[in-house]
């Protein structure tokens, strides 16, 4: 998952990596998702940036500030279509598999890194091995977990340094990767993974040139990719400049010659610069301008709102930590007691879309109303379900949230809605900051319900199910476990084609509904604004600027 620093609260804005869709605004999804004219070729623009939290190494960047820059300068095997989020081959000529477990990747010839060397199969295999290996402690390591031999590359020690002494990993090479020739390599996965090609467009899968391995630290200061733009300079805390890469041979090149990411501490400052035409594109609108759609009058015909792959939910505590929420009927009662449309309208100015399931509508495989009547506000039915469940035995309910982003208002509104409908006291409980909030959750000390947000890594229905609800999965904070759900995921991963896989995944989502694994709240939208100099502003399903379309008027 990729965190985003996009938060709205004035001072919380400059927080840690974090929260997921912490409080991005929303908007009217009926708006146009692009402006009309295609614009001219060449020229320079300045877009809003934020401070990368880590050195700019593709496998070691897990937040949008660094990710946006890396995505512009690197090419991957596949590229996500900005409109539909569907994967299209980029460096890959073809990715073939007879069984969803043994993949053969053939590269297109002629792709060049910005240091002049050609992109070859070994650049992928070496890069992936480096990111996966425990000794390098890269943040994107877990993306390689499905590949055979991943466990052997991880350090096993405990204590201060798991990689010291006997804990050292057996190897730093993934046994599932093999170079066949300069333009072919094979991937073998531990189990069947039908959507592997979809995943390969994520930043962590970008190839790196040989020069990376001589000095990863220097690379992190001035990264090299094979993408349409090359990295020019990075003035810390101030700006990052990239420019058109002349030798780019792919088909996703941009029109602009120069792009500057200007780093802002505060969304309001960036917003004011856009109104005054001193900044060209802003990928988040501050909450002050969302009220009554103020941004639409401030930036007439210079704004858009688009659904992005982010879902917000309320999680139940693991039964071991707090057994009071285990009853499915009680869970359904709570979900039915929440008046999502009213909260969206009053708290978010209509910039969210009430959720009807666990999967974002932007991905392939989305099915509406997976949650059914459990996600429809109905106080009478909710009360009846609560009575069936025998009432709530924990005294009062709590919903915890991190207080360093603007969650207070909606959590309180949600609690009020539950209180009014069910007659059970509900308290919105702040936790000082995101780090503390996450500590309590990972250590399984968080009692009561808590908020959760998920931004997709790659556009697949699977990304909204397996990492969150699979038994023992990395982000399964509620310790949800269902043999049936796990089995369906397995079957989906082995499915022959995309449609068959999606059908199985949708079935798995149905299991979540019957168990009420968590309470889906709403899907997010991203709001963009731009100056009077640029045109053809498009937003990807990830909520980022589509640099292949952006142009000067």
């Amino acid at each position: 998952m990729r965190g985003t620093t996009r938060t709205v609260a004035m001072l919380a804005g400059i927080t840690s990596v974090a929260l997921l869709a912490a409080a991005c605004g929303g908007g009217d999804s009926s708006d146009d998702t692009s402006s009309s004219a295609a614009g001219k070729t060449g020229g320079a623009v300045t877009v809003r940036g934020c401070n990368p939290q880590n050195p700019l190494v593709p496998g070691n960047t897990n937040e949008t500030c660094g990710g946006n820059v890396l995505d512009a300068i690197s090419a991957k095997l596949v590229h996500y279509n900005p409109e539909t989020a569907a994967p299209e081959n980029d460096i890959a000529d073809k990715i073939e598999t007879p069984d969803n477990q043994n993949f053969t990747v053939t590269l297109k010839k002629g792709y060049k890194f910005q240091d002049g060397t050609e992109v070859k199969a070994k650049n992928f295999v070496d890069a992936w091995n480096w990111v996966a290996a425990g000794e390098n402690a890269a943040l994107g390591s877990y993306f390689f977990d499905p590949i055979e031999g991943y466990a052997e590359t991880q350090c096993t020690g405990t204590g201060d340094d798991p990689c010291a002494g006997a804990g050292k990993a057996k190897t730093n090479k993934l046994s599932g990767l093999a170079v066949k020739d300069d333009y072919t390599f094979t991937i073998k996965t531990k189990e069947k993974v039908s959507n592997l090609p979809v995943r390969l467009g994520y930043t962590a899968f970008a190839p790196v040139p040989d020069s990376f391995f001589n000095d990863p630290k220097a690379f992190g200061e001035k990264p090299i990719g094979a993408g349409p733009y090359k990295f020019d300079s990075w003035t810390k805390n101030t700006e990052i400049k990239i420019s058109k890469f002349a030798d780019y041979s792919g088909k996703f090149g941009g029109k602009l010659d120069n792009i500057t990411f200007k780093i802002y501490q505060d969304d309001d400052a960036a917003y004011n610069d856009v109104i005054a035409n001193q900044l060209d594109v802003i990928d988040t609108i501050p909450s002050s301008a969302l009220i009554d759609d103020k941004y639409k009058t401030d930036l007439p015909d210079r704004n858009l709102s688009k659904a992005v792959g982010v879902i917000q939910a309320i999680n139940f505590p693991p039964a071991k930590t707090d057994p009071n929420y285990s009853d499915v009927k009680l869970r359904q009662a709570i979900s039915m007691a929440i008046d999502r449309p009213t909260i969206v309208k009053q708290i978010f100015n209509g910039t969210r879309e009430p959720a009807t399931g666990w999967v974002s509508p932007v991905v392939d495989g989305y099915k509406a109303n997976a949650c059914g009547e459990s996600c429809v506000f109905d106080p009478a039915k909710a009360k009846a379900k609560l009575d069936e469940a025998g009432g709530f035995k924990g005294g009062k309910m709590t919903i915890s949230y991190n207080a360093d982003a603007s969650h207070k208002a909606w959590v309180e509104a949600t609690c009020n809605s539950i209180k009014t409908s069910l007659g059970v006291d509900c308290v919105a409980t702040p936790v000082v900051d995101f780090a503390t909030f996450r500590s309590q959750i990972t250590e399984r000390k968080m009692k009561g319900m808590f908020r959760a947000g998920w931004q997709m890594d790659y556009p697949s229905i699977e990304n909204f199910l397996a990492p969150l609800y699979g038994t023992g999965a990395g982000s399964n904070d509620s310790d949800y476990s269902s043999a049936q759900f796990d089995q369906l995921l397995k079957e989906a991963a082995a499915a022959k084609d995309g449609a068959a896989a999606n059908a199985k995944y949708q079935e798995a989502e149905g299991v979540l509904a019957s168990d009420m694994a968590s309470i889906p709240m709403w899907y997010s939208t991203a709001q963009f604004g731009w100056s009077n100099k640029v045109t053809n502003v498009k937003v990807t399903a990830f909520g980022t600027i589509d640099f292949s379309a952006l142009a000067l008027k």
Partner: protein, 308 residues
């Protein structure tokens, strides 16, 4: 005099040591694990956490962490922050910007504040006096972010007289508006302090004597009364400079100035002890030096005060 300065400088050493330790201990005592929020809704890989903790000495007990830090500081190394950037490099780019901003704010508050205070003081009870009284009350009553955002909107966005935000170069012209906003609250205080003291001193015996022996009003006020009245004002401005350096967070955010305030805030938020201690230690040093300067200025303004 020089003995006095030397003594004061030596006194700074224990103060600095003590304050760094207190700040270090306070950041150390903050709840929450700095690595917990780094990987979003997913716990970070153990290998990453281990490497991170090792690199930043997070597993050592407080005294060891502090000792390691101080040994490095003694060798001129302020450490690296959690993002792998040298704290010294950050401070080198951020302090000049903030100092420029705070310095300009001080100039604004001194010139405008003293001028308004003198006007009000010598025309006590008249229209100018009431105007200064009411307008300063007005400024003091409005929070700085309202003043900042309003002026930015009208002067920057609407009328385009000033740039909306400050560029990395932070030129003099770009900083004019932010510096005025930052100094606005202090202008009001300086004006009021000057006025009150001037009015009081105008009634003093020595002023009556000066006027009686035939000094012009301009000379009596400008040379004798004003000089004596400025002592509390100088004290205020001295303390204010340190306050403006560290307290410019709001102004820096509104105008996107990459200064010290925002850095301290975000470092604190990330539990980035090394960064906070480095920044605040420099702030403490500036405070101490500013106070020393103020004490020395007393002697210049009022010859009766000596430091021998």
């Amino acid at each position: 005099m020089y003995k006095y300065i030397l003594r004061r400088l030596l006194q700074m050493i224990p103060v600095l040591l003590g304050s760094t330790f207190i700040i270090f201990a306070m950041v150390f005592a903050l709840p929450g694990d700095p690595t917990a929020g780094m990987c979003g809704e997913r716990p970070c890989a153990p290998a990453f956490v281990a490497k991170f903790r090792l690199e930043h000495n997070l597993d050592d007990p407080l005294p060891t962490q502090y000792a390691k830090y101080m040994v490095n500081v003694a060798q001129g190394d302020l450490g690296t922050n959690f993002r792998g950037i040298k704290v010294a490099d950050e401070l080198k780019t951020r302090y000049p910007t903030t100092a420029k901003l705070a310095g300009m704010a001080i100039i604004f508050e001194t010139i405008i504040g003293v001028f308004a205070g003198v006007l009000a003081g010598i025309r006590k009870g008249r229209f100018v006096d009431n105007l200064v009284l009411v307008s300063t009350l007005f400024v003091i009553a409005i929070p700085i972010f309202v003043i900042g955002a309003t002026l930015q909107y009208y002067l920057g966005v609407r009328w385009k007289i000033f740039p909306v935000t400050v560029s990395p170069e932070a030129t003099f012209y770009e900083l004019l508006l932010p510096a005025f906003v930052l100094g606005s609250g202090s202008i009001a205080y300086v004006a009021r302090l000057t006025r009150t003291n001037l009015v009081e001193n105008l009634r003093a015996d020595y002023v009556r004597t000066a006027v009686a022996k035939g000094l012009t009003r301009r000379r009596a006020i400008g040379l004798h009364t004003l000089r004596n009245s400025l002592i509390p004002v100088v004290t205020f401005i001295g303390a204010d400079f340190g306050g403006l350096l560290g307290g410019a967070i709001v102004t820096e955010r509104i105008f996107n100035i990459q200064g010290v305030g925002g850095y301290t805030f975000s470092s604190l938020h990330n539990h980035d002890g090394v960064a906070v201690v480095g920044t605040v230690t420099v702030l403490v040093l500036v405070f101490l030096l500013a106070n020393l300067l103020v004490d020395l200025l007393y002697g210049v303004l009022d010859p009766r005060i000596t430091h021998d």
